[in-house]
């Protein structure tokens, strides 16, 4: 075989208190889809950031077509044809979609930005990822799944030879993900190599020509196309077997704890939402990106107060106008956008985990320091948050571990009704099992759980009952017996053809 298109030899990188990479090597052939997988904190994102010029390695070499190169900046990387779609969204909220796609590379006309051309070109890339929004829409107004698609369109627009995708599907639902897979296939046929990072092993199996597994910043092994299997991957990732099994047991629902009747969200005021949720029940909410699932949770949680309708918690009518009021009656929400709504990046793990519980644990207005330490220790233990200590700044944790911090914050409150918006987003297989087990345990203790997920398997595996939404409406409810891939998809598209 000729020299690989891109090769990494013995790359190392340390951060204060953490050795993220300890001599990692990978090789990427032309027109190949290489999946890089590993547990949360294994060093995947760090490796990709180095390739994309965001961070500099401590030691090791990067070779392109057999010749050693130095990638000093993002600009350097782009010049060599390497583009990265970050795990965390990196879009300017206050700019429109087209401007974001061409940010820093705006075509000029007479010294001024050629807005017309930008919009026209942007349309092309948006079509490629199947996103049907006006290029002049402000990015900040789009739901997070659509923002992810904009990010992908942006990466396509640089015409890279190596396209790195760090968990591109973590906030996409099945339909959008399918479109992305098609884009990846097309790219490969046109000679582009793709490095694909994901915790959704099903996708990896479908897409990858080869899999490289990282564990604790080291190479744990490679799998060729024909060797790729769920169990094989998991074994390399965690060093032991984990069953693919969802720990779900049917629950006998208790009393109704949440009754929603005719609630209208500001996002879709035309549709009234009604459903009930019982103690000890796990109800999944399925739908495509933009179906209004997040908006529904936000309204129930008082973030965007309802425009009408009633809501009863344990038989008492409430109309939360702020999260504070919602928390007061025993509700909790693990929000979708962890960077903006979930964690306070610059604060420590301990301070984040205890933040929502401060009020409950206070002593006449004073913080209870001992309780804060206990809580964070408990959550780091039970959620297996990978952090050197609980005084670590959350920003320096890997994406999946940040997600666990958010979960920890809300579990610490011991809520009566728990809303989860994509709770396993960006979380590795082992930790997913932990979270599923935790959901089960909470349900057994009588907590009512309503969870939004774009992962079909998760909906099918974990729900006692599922609600399906489409364009702001609840289009149907499926009991566990009637839960199936097709039934969910049919309701999620409300009879429309699935564009694939």
């Amino acid at each position: 075989m000729s020299a690989p298109l891109l090769e990494v030899r013995k790359l190392s990188k340390s951060f204060p208190g953490v050795r993220a990479l300890k001599g990692v090597s990978i090789a990427l052939q032309p027109a190949e889809v290489l999946a890089v997988i590993g547990e949360n904190g294994a060093g995947k994102s760090t490796l990709m950031k180095i390739l994309a010029g965001v961070q500099r390695p401590d030691s090791g070499a990067i070779l392109m077509n057999g010749a050693e190169v130095e990638i000093r900046s993002v600009h350097d990387a782009l010049a060599r044809g390497i583009a990265l779609i970050h795990q965390e969204l990196n879009l300017a909220d206050n700019l429109d979609v087209a401007s974001n796609i061409f940010l820093g590379r705006e075509p000029l006309r007479g010294g001024l930005v050629d807005t017309k051309r930008i919009r026209r070109e942007a349309r092309k890339f948006l079509d490629a990822v199947g996103l049907d929004v006006d290029p002049a829409t402000l990015v900040g107004t789009l739901p997070i799944g659509c923002q992810q698609l904009v990010e992908i369109a942006k990466a396509l627009s640089v015409n890279a030879r190596v396209l790195i995708m760090d968990e591109p599907t973590s906030s996409l639902s099945a339909g959008e993900a399918e479109k992305l897979f098609k884009v990846i296939h097309d790219l490969r046929s046109s000679g582009v190599s793709v490095i694909y990072i994901s915790h959704r092993l099903g996708e990896v199996k479908k897409l990858a020509d080869r899999v490289t597994v990282l564990r604790d910043g080291e190479n744990a092994g490679d799998l060729a196309r024909e060797e790729i299997s769920h169990n094989g991957m998991v074994k390399l990732m965690v060093g032991r077997d984990i069953s693919q099994f969802y720990p779900h047991e049917p629950h006998t629902p208790g009393q109704i704890v949440l009754e929603v009747a005719g609630i209208r969200t500001p996002a879709h005021p035309g549709h009234a939402l009604s459903f009930t949720l019982c103690a000890g029940e796990i109800v999944g909410v399925a739908g495509l990106v933009g179906a209004g699932r997040t908006e529904m949770l936000e309204t129930l949680f008082g973030v965007t107060p309802a425009l009408g309708g009633t809501m009863l918690v344990a038989g008492k009518e409430i109309a939360p106008r702020s999260p504070l009021e919602a928390i007061g009656v025993g509700l909790a929400l693990v929000p979708e956008d962890r960077k903006r709504q979930g964690v306070i990046l610059e604060m420590t793990v301990r301070d984040n985990v205890s933040l929502a519980s401060l009020r409950k644990d206070q002593r006449a207005g004073f913080r209870n320091g001992r309780r804060e330490r206990e809580l964070s220790a408990e959550m780091i233990g039970s959620l297996r948050i990978k952090t050197p200590h609980d005084r670590q700044i959350v920003q320096f944790l890997s994406g999946g571990n940040q997600q666990k911090v958010v979960l920890g914050k809300w579990l610490a409150l011991r809520p009566r009704v728990l809303f989860l918006d994509e709770p396993t987003r960006g979380i590795d297989v082992g930790a997913k099992q932990e979270i599923y087990r935790l959901m089960e345990e909470l349900a057994r203790e009588g907590v009512a759980i309503l969870f939004v997920s774009s992962e079909m398997e998760e909906i099918l595996g974990m729900s006692d009952r599922a609600l399906v939404m489409h364009e702001g409406r609840i289009t149907g409810e499926l009991a566990r017996a009637g839960l199936s891939d097709e039934a969910v998809m049919r309701l999620a598209t409300a009879g429309e053809k699935v564009a694939a």
Partner: protein, 332 residues
């Protein structure tokens, strides 16, 4: 603690240099004066620091100082109000201004810079209006009240130096502020919302209320400062009383480690920052004839201070990474 090490060292350095250059610096009289001035600046700096910690800014501090500083003697001597009534009035006005700012900023979502810039113009204008631009003062009266600012507290076993009364106000204010910021849930709420207001709100924090509280603390301490300033100086000229004090206060807070991005700051740091500014002024006054370049020097020191702070931070990061590497590689 580590964060304020650099600025404390700088303060010590400036003190030593001044002491060498000028004999007058270490005289009991000068130190007393310096302590009094530092205490007054410290009080308003703590106020503005709360606003900065929540991610806001208050430019109206100097004008509130002027409004209270002119209003109090005006009420007492020109309107013949009783002392309790006058004191209550200035307290109410100060707190009211804070509520006013906070409510406009949180409920109408208008930028703090704009709201308090308008405040800066309005309150001084009002003071100039009711005094008709005339100097107001206590004359020889109200000596009892004035001891709040001019009083001296002798320290046992120390000769030649007595503690100026405003220092007591400062110590009490600093102590309460530090307890509030570090030990209460509200303090934590302010630090959290200064970093990420949306996440704070999702966590059940009444962010609007906390922001309003911060502006009230700021205006209340500005009012207290204004009162002590005028009690100290005896007279106030509405045209320039408290002029630029908001800038001194913001500079002290920033020197002391408050980030204008919010969510960061310690009370001790702010006190050191305030002391540094006053010592610099004192140095310029004692050692040169050019007091008019004062702003240039303070500006330059502030800039050098924040640059040095940033460089030290980066260096420390790198050192820690290198140490981690060493610690990991050694045993294996």
């Amino acid at each position: 603690m580590k964060k304020i090490l650099g600025i404390t060292a700088l303060l010590a350095l400036v003190c030593i240099i001044t002491a060498i250059l000028s004999e007058g610096f270490l005289s009991g009289y000068n130190i007393e004066n310096l302590a009094r001035r530092t205490a007054l600046l410290g009080i308003i700096s703590i106020g503005v620091a709360f606003v900065i910690i929540t991610g806001g800014i208050d430019l109206s501090v100097g004008s509130v100082v002027c409004l209270v500083g002119c209003g109090l003697p005006w009420l007492l001597t020109k309107q013949n109000w009783s002392m309790p009534a006058a004191l209550a009035a200035v307290a109410l006005v100060s707190v009211g201004i804070g509520i006013f700012h906070g409510v406009i900023i949180t409920k109408l979502r208008i930028a703090p810079f704009v709201v308090t810039l308008c405040g800066l113009m309005m309150y001084r204008g009002i003071a100039r209006g009711f005094t008709q631009d005339q100097t107001v003062g206590f004359g020889g009266e109200f000596t009892g009240l004035r001891t709040l600012a001019t009083g001296q507290i002798s320290i046992p076993f120390v000769d030649g130096f007595t503690l100026p009364a405003p220092c007591v106000f400062l110590l009490v204010a600093a102590l309460l502020a530090a307890i509030f910021l570090n030990r209460t849930i509200w303090g934590r709420y302010m630090l959290a919302l200064g970093r990420n207001e949306e996440a704070a709100r999702y966590s059940g924090i009444n962010t609007d209320r906390m922001v309003i509280v911060a502006y009230v603390i700021c205006s209340a301490l500005s009012g207290l400062g204004g009162m002590l300033y005028v009690l100290d100086s005896n007279t106030a000229q509405p045209v320039d009383f408290g002029n630029f004090y908001e800038l001194y206060a913001i500079a002290a807070a920033v020197l002391g480690g408050c980030s204008l991005r919010g969510g960061e700051g310690t009370i001790v740091g702010i006190l050191v920052g305030a002391a540094l500014i006053m010592v610099l002024r004192n140095m310029i006054m004692l050692t040169t004839n050019y007091t008019n370049i004062e702003f240039a020097i303070i500006g330059a020191v502030l800039l050098i201070g924040v640059i040095a702070d940033e460089l030290v931070k980066r260096y420390a990061m790198r050192r820690r990474a290198a140490r981690a590497l060493l610690a990991e590689t050694k045993p294996s």
